[in-house]
């Protein structure tokens, strides 16, 4: 099986879906000739031409709005936000229109659009290139939010998102783009949206997380295994709506739960996971539910040492798991 980087899996999924369905097209800033600022759409312009790989002006609201209109007319647009930090001008289009069109039109219209957006910190990107934006959209019924952690999941989930008949926001972790590599089948497969995935089976402590933090948890689990601590890791994969059943099962598995995100803590996706566990698992819990997240500060600092202090680090994950195991 070929080994691809996270970003190569994005490109492959886009390529396969574009050749499979001529209604699929890509639009965004620099996605055409330039191949995308991260090279996610590399080669697509040459292969499919300027009508299906469209360079847009620097106007996120227009990228989303054009995508919504095209989608309502039966196309399957894949809109790229160059950085998720710049999605906010498009938030009105996404929240007020894309998410509500099916409901508002009583099923007459739908918006089968995928919005790809690189997110996440630890890349020395400073205030406007490091944020986690999922929580802003994770309270908007009508949207789905997917955040894959591995190249295998990237391909299967991106293809499923493009084929989904409703709007999906697909957040890709910038740091994972070239850091994370893994086996990706050449064949056409999809992974169902809304389903979390047990990435590691364990008995002492459950970690529920998503995105790059899955890898931090896996690293920590490997180290802790040598100390005899067995870690159960659930990768949410779809952070909205959440896979409640999988969260409850994972929490019951060990009764000690660490919820992990690189987003700032208050009101984050994992806070909702904590509520689900509290509602369902009281008599299975053996320790207080813990959250490990970034501090509630306005943004990721640019200065190296401060960025380090802000970002959740693998050692912190390890220490939290150990602390829960010893509780």
């Amino acid at each position: 099986m070929p080994v691809l980087s996270y970003i190569e899996a994005v490109t492959q999924a886009l390529d396969e879906e574009m050749s499979r369905d001529e209604n699929v097209f890509v639009l965004g800033e620099d996605v055409g000739k330039r191949g995308g600022v991260f090279q996610a759409t590399k080669g697509l312009y040459d292969k499919y031409g300027e009508n299906r790989v469209i360079d847009t002006p620097l106007a996120e609201s227009a990228i989303a709005g054009v995508g919504i209109g095209a989608a309502m007319y039966g196309m399957r647009p894949v809109a790229e936000m160059q950085f998720s930090d710049f999605m906010l001008p498009a938030a009105n289009q996404i929240i007020s229109e894309a998410a509500k069109t099916r409901y508002r039109s009583n099923n007459d219209w739908s918006v089968p659009m995928t919005i790809r957006a690189p997110f996440g910190g630890g890349v020395h990107g400073g205030l406007y290139h490091s944020q986690s934006m999922e929580a802003i959209f994770a309270n908007v019924p009508g949207l789905k939010i997917v955040i894959p952690s591995t190249p295998y999941d990237v391909k299967g989930l991106l293809k499923a998102s493009i084929r989904d008949n409703d709007p999906v926001i697909f957040f890709e972790h910038k740091r994972a783009y070239r850091l994370i590599k893994g086996e990706v089948p050449v064949d056409d497969y999809t992974i169902p949206l809304g389903k979390a995935d047990v990435k590691r089976d364990g008995t002492d402590v459950t970690v529920i997380t998503y995105g790059l933090m899955v890898h931090y948890a896996m690293q920590a689990a490997d180290k802790l295994a040598a100390e005899g601590i067995s870690t159960h890791i659930l990768d949410l994969r779809t952070v909205y709506p959440l896979d409640k059943e999988a969260i409850v099962d994972a929490a019951r598995k060990t009764g000690k739960v660490l919820l992990l995100t690189e987003d700032t803590k208050e009101g984050s996706v994992i806070s909702e996971a904590a509520a689900i566990i509290a509602e369902n698992c009281l008599f299975d819990l053996d320790a207080p539910i813990r959250r490990l997240a970034a501090p509630d500060a306005p943004a990721m600092p640019y200065a190296g040492p401060l960025e380090q202090a802000f970002m959740v680090k693998p050692e912190q994950v390890e220490n939290e798991i150990r602390d829960l195991a010893e509780f």
Partner: protein, 424 residues
């Protein structure tokens, strides 16, 4: 010098060419190497002025951002001494914590639930958590290591256990039996001439089963009377021939069991068990039969009673009774009962309030058959009458379904004849 980050998604780089060699002197910002990433190619500048002392990677090597690529001796700087200060205090603190048991009795919801479900005394479990806290895992491994010694299985368990000795008895006797099982809140003095009877294992089991049934199951009771004149006549006709041919006495009991089993098949809710968050209607109809011995009461089981003829039931009853008398009952003989029949009539009783054989849902007593004057077709007639008494688990059963079940048993018994109830 470390591998620099040459772009936001760039996490590694490849040294394509060194622009300096060991021994060269470089100034700050002089290019020292060409680096290729999958986004950019760039020259990397020196961060220091000094002499190159070592190249740590070769041309063509790929390494993560932040990894050292070469060393530079900076003029006037002391060679860095690695600081290896290990925090040993942490370990010591952990050691001390082992002695601390302040959390020993601070139980989590999971631990309390497990303790309750398995009837555990948490004082007996060692805690491996912080400050001696008993963790869920401690309880789970305790249960797994010694399930028989420490636990009484929960009524919500799917596989419902059978008591090893008596599960039913008349109430007055049960009260006596229960006393020893009650925690000794007071001591009993025995006076001169009293005979003190040491408890046998069977007596203890009876006591605890009776107590448990009465504590956990909300009992309700009802009774009907049945005219069994037809049954008495039928049995009188054939009992001599049966004894001669089969070598066994033909009693009334198999006929009663046959009718009860037939009614149970029609009312599966009677043949069920309370399982905490659900009711389980058992498919098998296994009749527990109360059989008295001198000092104890046993409830061996007639398995699949619904598949047996009158003769089959008669033989099964005789065999179980013989096993009890001769102390030959195996644990298997006691397992799997779904409904209990109690033949109190054999003592001459005409009414009783049996205690349910835990965890079944009902128990039925067959009282003495007695001749009584009753009104038939507006005339007084002498008929063979019997009382059937039933105790039910009111969590599982209500009066309506119980009444219908008893009415069906009555109908079957009153209409017994050679045609609808063959012996074979």
């Amino acid at each position: 010098m470390a591998m620099p980050q040459l772009g936001e998604s760039v996490t590694e780089g490849t040294i394509s060419q060194w622009l300096i060699s060991v021994g060269d002197t470089v100034n700050k910002y002089d290019p020292i190497a060409e680096v290729t990433t999958d986004k950019v190619n760039a020259e990397i500048p020196s961060s220091f002025s000094g002499k190159i002392t070592e190249l740590l990677v070769g041309e063509g090597d790929t390494l993560p951002v932040g990894e050292p690529i070469c060393t530079i001796e900076v003029e006037g700087a002391e060679p860095a001494v690695e600081k290896l200060v290990k925090n040993t205090a942490g370990k010591a603190a952990q050691k001390e914590e082992q002695q601390d048991t302040s959390m020993k009795r601070r139980y989590s919801p999971a631990v309390l639930r497990l303790a309750q479900e398995h009837d555990l005394n948490l004082d007996q479990i060692a805690g491996t958590g912080r400050s001696g806290r008993i963790t869920r895992k401690d309880v789970e491994s305790y249960i797994a290591s010694a399930p028989k010694e420490h636990t009484i299985e929960s009524p919500s368990d799917m596989h419902v256990p059978q008591p090893s000795a008596a599960g039913c008895f008349s109430e007055a006797v049960a009260k006596e039996a229960a006393k020893p099982a009650v925690h000794a809140s007071r001591t009993f003095e025995n006076e001169a001439g009293d005979h003190v009877v040491a408890l046998t294992g069977v007596r203890r089991a009876i006591a605890s089963n009776m107590l448990r049934s009465k504590h956990e199951i909300p009992h309700a009771w009802t009774m009907i009377e049945v005219d069994v004149t037809n049954l008495v006549n039928y049995r009188n006709q054939i009992k001599g021939a049966f004894l001669k041919k089969e070598g066994h006495k033909l009693t009334y009991l198999p006929f009663f069991i046959k009718a009860i089993v037939a009614a149970l098949k029609e009312f599966p809710r009677i043949n069920s068990t309370w399982a905490g968050d659900k009711i389980i209607e058992k498919k098998a109809v296994n009749i527990s039969l109360a059989v008295a011995a001198d000092e104890a009461l046993y409830v061996p089981v007639i398995k699949n009673a619904d598949e047996k003829s009158i003769k089959g039931l008669a033989f099964a009853v005789d065999e179980l009774a013989a096993n009890v008398r001769e102390n030959r009952l195996s644990p298997d003989d006691m397992q799997g009962g779904t409904f209990t029949v109690n033949n109190t009539g054999s003592f001459g009783s005409i009414q009783s309030q049996p205690i349910i054989n835990y965890p079944q849902a009902a128990i039925l007593s067959i009282e003495s058959i007695v001749k009584r004057p009753v009104v038939v077709n507006n005339m007084i007639a002498i008929r063979d009458m019997v009382n059937l008494c039933i105790s039910i688990d009111h969590r599982v059963l209500d009066g309506l379904i119980t009444g219908r079940f008893l009415a069906r048993v009555k109908e079957l018994l009153e209409n017994i004849n050679p045609e609808n109830t063959p012996i074979y």
